[in-house]
Subunit: 379 residues, 2 copies
């Protein structure tokens, strides 16, 4: 028998109807033994260090069994994280190793099926990066469940936001779907987020002119900070707060007097319409997300698809996890960039397991600046 | 001096405001000498045999100089045709040769700059085919004019419909942009037109399941005939009259219970919206035209572009003339198919120069069945 210590866990109190509130969750302190019991084979006991706060969490907080397996009420909710192995009865994992992958939002987790845990491959890099720029996740159970369902709009929307792998998503979307050429003009919406910040920097590295937009539900300081980050930290050529623009079309004309070659689409609806009006001949639109359309009843119409024809635009949706084979190539590119500080990756790291509920809620109001992470312990 | 004979010409009486009417044109009989005068170098005198009735003609009938050079009032209007050389002062052309390309809608034409005339390369095929399935046209003056203008929606719309080359348009759109695989499901809108009929047959040859829709402003016999043609002549697996469908979505579900892999887009608007709802994962949309959107003030909104994201759809606009390099490859494929009667190409051939005004008007109400041609003389 190992030492038994307290384990703070984030618990779901009730299923969420529309937007998530902090009161939908609570913190519970339970007990956990720091040793795997004999007879419990192929398990791993983790001390969670960094927890990834991802949009897909919301989908499991809703009671839509036909869609994704809902979290169990009064149980710790699952998610992605970076952890240290405290004990292992699985041949692939040893005590003391660092891993990343599927865990629970709590201080310590006993993982009985560690197939979705991967070893940290480069200890010179910040550990938290494995929740974002370095992570490559697939949630197999959910994926299988979704593919076997009839495709209803709602289901599909969530299927997209279910996977958290900002680095690969930025890389695949920009290089494979946007086919960038030096000197081209690139527009990134939701540019200060986990994905957008990387797209902008990849585009600058590729010799493009890059403009990003960002905003926040709470106007104000957060939006200002995001725009400032885009220009002064990520090196975008220009950036603007879309919440302050009455007319997206006019804003885009201001920043792209000669038009847009590449649009990295995170927003959809009216923004997409304005972009199409400002695209150049042979423009490319990589559709990574359409967040403006996720939580509204009546989806906005796009009235100028004629431009797809007249400007010979290519518009394509994608999911990074379907381009797994590029992961080694991506790491080969991105790891040196990180080490040589040629790329900046901003994380919004909240302190302590207690900050998880607030961080989840903040994600949906644009409160976070950069990739949202919670640090539970540093070692 | 050669013999002087009478020459019936189609004349534009006045510029067209919205839809074209027969009374916008008239027939004039003038005189023409059947010999090129000495001193008139590099000219070709043509006897026009087949005239191509194309949508782009309407664009020149409007007085929108900023957009395309309008026809001169009281002058014969220009277009594409297949002709016989009666006399030539150009080194490339000889009396008696058959040519196709830029001419005027009249019985005889003196072409002073025959750079847009090409020799008929295969006399075993119906001559009229050079206005359609075998033609590969580019209108250089107009193209240059357009590319140097600011891109306004209207301009762009017309830029697309200005080029008449159904065969290459079908080939490039289907094989290059739709990436068809054996067993995939294909939907073609405006399927009985010059382009659609070929796409459907190319798709059948490629081992796909193909459904086409057609219709006509005048419901009735014409629509029935079109649907019948699609199934019984072009070999589409299924066909329907879209004018009889209250709900495009339901119609598509009926014909594609498992969804659409490839959509060859000729229509746009509500039809595109219904198609997106019925597309399968990794669907492809080749945007060849959006005819439902050309002559309306308020363009229809497409509200479900989220599907582009969730189903990873690729949607792309194109113009066949930008893929010239494929023309020899196209001929290599299509000529044997025509000769072995493995492909059917339906033309709506009206008799006599007098039928030109009616044929032009008919094109915009869907009266024609297949590619609209006027035969002026057979040899």
């Amino acid at each position: 028998m190992g030492e038994e210590i307290s384990n703070k866990q984030v618990i779901l109190n009730n299923y969420v109807k529309a937007y998530v509130k902090e009161s939908d969750m609570s913190l519970r302190t339970s007990k956990i033994q720091l040793k795997i019991l004999s007879g419990c084979d192929d398990a791993v006991l983790l001390k969670n260090l960094y927890l990834s706060i991802d949009p897909f969490i919301l989908t499991h907080m809703k009671n839509e069994e036909h869609f994704v397996p809902p979290y169990k009420l009064d149980s710790p909710i699952f998610g992605y994280g970076v952890s240290k192995v405290l004990d292992s009865s699985h041949p692939n994992f040893k005590t003391g190793e660092l891993v990343w992958g599927f865990t629970c939002l709590e201080e310590y987790s006993l993982i009985k099926d560690p197939d979705t845990l991967f070893k940290v491959h480069d200890k010179d890099l910040p550990l938290s990066y494995y929740t974002g720029i370095l992570g490559e996740f697939l949630e197999p159970i959910v994926m299988i469940g979704l593919f076997s369902l009839n495709v209803r709009l709602k289901i599909n929307v969530f299927r997209v936001i279910i996977l958290g792998m900002p680095g690969m998503t930025a890389y695949v979307g920009f290089f494979e779907f946007c086919s960038p050429k030096k000197g081209e003009t690139v527009y990134v919406s939701a540019a200060s987020g986990a994905i957008g910040q990387l797209v902008g920097q990849f585009a600058k590295n590729a010799g493009c002119y890059v403009v990003g937009s960002a905003g926040s539900k709470e106007k104000s300081a957060v939006a200002l900070m995001k725009v400032d980050l885009l220009k002064n930290k990520f090196g975008f050529d220009e950036a603007f707060n879309y919440k302050e623009e009455q007319d997206y079309n006019a804003a885009l004309k201001r920043y792209f007097p000669d038009g847009i070659d590449i649009y990295f689409e995170n927003v959809g609806g009216k923004m997409l319409e304005a972009v199409l009006s400002n695209m150049r001949l042979y423009g490319r639109v990589a559709v990574c997300g359409m967040i403006s359309q996720y939580n509204i009843e009546q989806h906005e119409g796009v009235h100028n698809l004629l431009y797809v024809l007249t400007k010979r635009i290519r518009m394509e949706g994608y999911q990074a996890n379907e381009h797994y084979h590029l992961y080694p190539k991506y790491l080969e590119m991105v790891v040196p960039l990180i080490k040589e500080e040629k790329i900046t990756y901003v994380e919004d790291i909240a302190e302590g397991i207690e900050s998880v509920p607030g961080a989840i809620v903040g994600l949906f109001s644009g409160r976070n600046v950069g990739k949202q992470v919670v640090v539970v312990a540093r070692e």
